[in-house]
Symmetry: C2
């Protein structure tokens, strides 16, 4: 089944202990779309400027990603610069030029309205809610957000959270959203805000999925997937969006969104995140094969499963 | 097979968001011995003062722990005070009165010399090395250490590390010991210092075991065990020693120290750590049953294993 992602397409400058790159294709929707494209047909709604050319478009096209929803606006594409020190868990933003992204109003092409899976990447919560309302036939909605919206637009975010099925955020965001430092208690509070499942990403320690009682099956036990211990993390940018792409992509490839499918999806999320950080930008995500992905899924299994 | 633990027995004052307790039985050897006692016969070498009475001794005796190696010295038992704020991962030490522990010289009773498994809890590295040399018939030696020794006595610690099989430390300690911020690279550097396996504990995110190439079997893939998401961590004191007790205890209960046994041991370590933090001090460790332990092992399995 197909997936629609709504979010940013950007040009990034990144510096990490492994080097520097400038003007590379990035943005949440880009990472998500590439990661998900190995599992299911992907459609993108985003906005780009006049500096987004055939070379960038080809990155999407080569993966069969439908770009009819990428709007061309007058001006420049969103640009972001960030640097990572030895602590690769956190980016220091060096600049943010929103450019055409500042006035982004997602427009859903008519042809996209039958999409079964929706992912609302990190954009203003009211825009997320608007898209979700237009896509009212969707089978499952995944959603990301960030500290900025949790702090600045809590009421708008509360509305959005009631409209989504799975929220994917990190530890800090979950604790901030719930006003609670204990992780399982924070998870329960967030689940009470709307989503039926909550994926909390722990960076190099993997991710945990918490279920609302009875959602997607029986019980409310959480489930944990590992991250791969990686000797050289070149560029952590986009790891979370690649995780979401693997997670949603795998779900869209399954007949049923069961608990077992969600658990496997959590593993595939980790797998795609682990590939993303091996090279700068989307480089690694552009040249994968499904065999490589499944081989790494097997490594993740061996990393955690007893005989 | 039997296990000998050499380390501290103490009286602790602890304050956490869940409350305060004073003068409760603690110390690394105590937590370790109680946790391990559910799996194998345990022997203890430690020193206590005149304030250590029959009530404290009974805690060990009730679990069949051999206390002939607990030396009574003139003076007071080691006392430690610590407090935890909302961030339960780190204790703030409020006082440390070493008392009789200051001049601790481990003496191994003759009857202990046939012990098969040895755990060197966190004491001065040269004392650890001395014990290891006396116990030269031992099948497997586990070892703990801490930032204090890593910084103050690196040469002495380097000697000890060459004499042990499994080192159990946390992320910060591993990175400090290796002078390396990347976890798998730090692990490789520590393994090059001597131990054949390295357990790195990640607090609420579980633990990873790294193997030296070819040690305990084929390959050098690491393995990860989860920690249980716990809604009320009452007192994290002793979680690491309880982890070590479950880990070493399970190994001592097995015919062979294979990779598969080490992986299961990592799960049992997490299980015993998760029990320890549920109540203050050793309270929870004192009243467990093997059935409860195995039921929680099953929960850990369900938390991480795909169908």
């Amino acid at each position: 089944m197909s997936i629609l992602v709504v979010g940013s397409v950007a040009f990034d400058d990144v510096t990490s202990p492994s080097g520097s790159v400038a003007n590379i294709l990035g943005g949440a929707a880009t990472y998500f779309a590439l990661a998900a494209s190995y599992f299911a047909p992907v459609r993108v709604v985003a906005v780009v400027g006049e500096d987004f050319g055939p070379k960038e478009e080809d990155v999407f096209r080569k993966h069969g990603i439908d770009t009819r929803g990428i709007e061309r606006a007058q001006g420049k594409t969103f640009r972001w610069g960030g640097s990572y020190s030895d602590n690769l868990n956190e980016a220091k933003t060096t600049f943010t030029d929103l450019n055409v992204f500042e006035t982004f109003q997602p427009r859903i092409p008519k042809e996209y309205e039958d999409t079964e899976f929706l992912f609302l990447a990190n954009i203003q919560p009211t825009l997320q809610a608007d898209v979700r309302r237009i896509m009212n036939e969707v089978r499952l909605t995944g959603c990301d957000t960030m500290n900025y919206w949790i702090n600045r637009t809590p009421k708008e975010l509360a509305v959005t959270l009631k409209l989504v099925d799975v929220l994917l955020i990190n530890d800090t965001e979950a604790k901030m959203l719930a006003h609670e430092t204990n992780l399982p208690r924070a998870a329960n509070k967030v689940l009470a805000m709307g989503p039926r499942a909550l994926v909390i990403k722990h960076g190099e320690y993997g991710a945990t999925i918490f279920f609302r009682e009875g959602a997607f099956g029986i019980g409310h036990h959480p489930f944990r997937a590992p991250a791969l211990p990686i000797e050289e993390v070149k560029d952590p940018t986009g790891a979370g969006d690649s995780f979401a792409g693997g997670f949603m992509g795998y779900l869209a490839s399954q007949k049923q969104v069961s608990r077992e499918a969600l658990k496997r999806a959590l593993f595939y999320g980790g797998v795609m995140g682990s590939f993303a950080v091996e090279r700068f930008g989307t480089e690694r995500l552009q040249c994968l094969t499904r065999d490589e992905i499944d081989a790494r899924f097997q490594v993740f299994r061996e990393l955690t499963h007893l005989d």
